[in-house]
């Protein structure tokens, strides 16, 4: 059976996989990192977003074997222990979730947004979240959380709301 060697949340791993194994299946079924969710399995919903070599991608639409030598970061790998990542803190503070199913993908996606654009306005946040579907919140509280996190990371300077 083929195997793939990659780094997941800073830990090097080598796993035997089928060629058809998806990255999300490797993470959930083989590494028990179940924070990455499968929502639609058709690259629409964004519940499976992780970072591949620093960039947000949908882990349901990439083969595990394509990630040879790659660095993958999942929702389990973003917080510096102990405590939460600032984006998680902001979601907590702004009630950016209800059922929570989409939340890991939302957070991984928004961390990537702030990497590319540290001071997004509301429009930029909403446009970036086109690939993340939430059926509970109506998005407002998620957008609020993203803007709060951006504001706090820039040392309290006012966000462009």
């Amino acid at each position: 059976m083929p195997s793939v060697s990659l780094t997941v949340n800073g830990q090097p791993v080598t796993v035997e996989v089928e060629n058809r194994t998806l990255l999300v299946q490797l993470l959930r079924d083989r590494l028990s990192l179940t924070g990455t969710h499968i929502g639609c399995d058709t690259s629409q919903c964004g519940a499976c977003v992780v970072h591949l070599d620093g960039i947000s991608i949908k882990s349901c639409t990439i083969l595990a074997v394509q990630c040879e030598d790659a660095e993958v970061v999942t929702i389990e790998g973003i917080a510096s222990s102990p405590g939460l990542h600032p984006m998680q803190e902001a979601f907590n503070h702004k009630h950016g979730l209800q059922c929570g199913y989409c939340t890991p993908g939302m957070i991984m996606s928004l961390i990537d947004l702030l990497r590319v654009e540290p001071h997004p306005d509301e429009h930029a946040v909403r446009k970036w979240l086109e690939g993340n579907i939430c059926r509970c919140t109506g998005y407002q509280s998620i957008v609020d959380a993203a803007l709060e996190c951006a504001q706090q990371q820039s040392g309290g300077a006012s966000a462009h709301v």
């Binding site: 690259s43 991608i57 083969l63 394509q66 086109e130």
Partner: protein
């Protein structure tokens, strides 16, 4: 998904050799091919991952022509200073494909070779008069797109890059399906000297040029010029969510908006 063999060559020649195997497929960004495999609509014997071939990616300007390698991803085209300077309408097109995570993986070569009837890039290539390069020849966009998911590519032929002549002006306007992000209608309009090209995606049967709009805009380079143009109804599918008359109205409106964005 049925299982398959997988190979990730680093050299073009290796990839082409693998492609001689029956039912093998090139894997570019995978944004269409992998979902098709999951649904068992595609059953490749081998997936030849082109992600490891460096010479297939990258953007360069050569003699007034913008060359984009097949494995260049949508977000790279959208953010490229070279593209934004030479053909800002093309950067805009790349920036409205799918969603951000799709743009992080999807490639120009994959999109063009797939020729989805609602994809954005086919309109970009046809509307800008681009040229497709493969491992064995070059093909003008006018001769490349042959209808629904059909192209001039032969079995085992690899699309390696796309070259765009730099127009005097070009703009892309798109009305997206709110569910899928695909174009309900997308229109690329370009002008180079006296020459005008208008290409439409999303019609239903594959990308096409609108001769009536091009002629009207050659006579009168203004948004009003296309208000009464006729679009060949045979090029439009009558869909439940988007009847033919609605698509015609969208084509007129989006063409006018594209021109308006260039004349103001």
């Amino acid at each position: 998904m049925y299982d398959f063999r997988y190979t990730r060559p680093t050299m073009l020649a290796e990839a082409l050799q693998s492609a001689e195997e029956a039912d093998s497929k090139f894997l570019a960004g995978g944004m269409t091919l992998l979902p098709a495999c999951k649904q068992r609509l595609a059953r490749p014997s081998t997936l030849i991952d082109l992600g490891g071939i460096r010479e297939l990616a990258g953007i360069s300007m050569q003699d007034g022509t913008l060359r984009i390698g097949a494995m260049t991803r949508h977000f790279e085209v959208a953010a490229s200073e070279a593209v934004r300077t030479a053909i800002p309408g093309l950067a805009r097109l790349a920036g409205v494909i799918g969603d951000q995570q799709v743009r992080h993986r999807g490639t120009i070569g994959g999109s063009v070779a797939n020729n989805d009837p609602a994809a954005d890039y086919p309109a970009g290539l046809l509307g800008l008069g681009a040229t497709v390069a493969t491992d064995r020849r070059t093909i003008a966009a006018d001769d490349f797109f042959l209808g629904l998911f059909e192209t001039a590519l032969e079995e085992g032929e690899m699309l390696t890059s796309v070259s765009f002549p730099v127009p005097d002006a070009a703009a892309y306007e798109k009305f997206s399906s709110p569910a899928s992000g695909y174009a309900l209608i997308g229109v690329m309009v370009s002008r180079t000297g006296a020459d005008v090209r208008v290409a439409v995606t999303g019609g239903g049967h594959g990308v096409f040029r609108v001769a009536a709009a091009e002629a009207a805009l050659v006579d009168d380079w203004s948004p009003q010029a296309v208000s009464g143009i006729e679009v060949d109804a045979d090029m439009l599918s009558d869909d439940h969510g988007a009847p033919t008359a609605y698509k015609m109205a969208l084509i007129r409106t989006l063409t006018a908006r594209a021109v308006a964005s260039m004349v103001r």
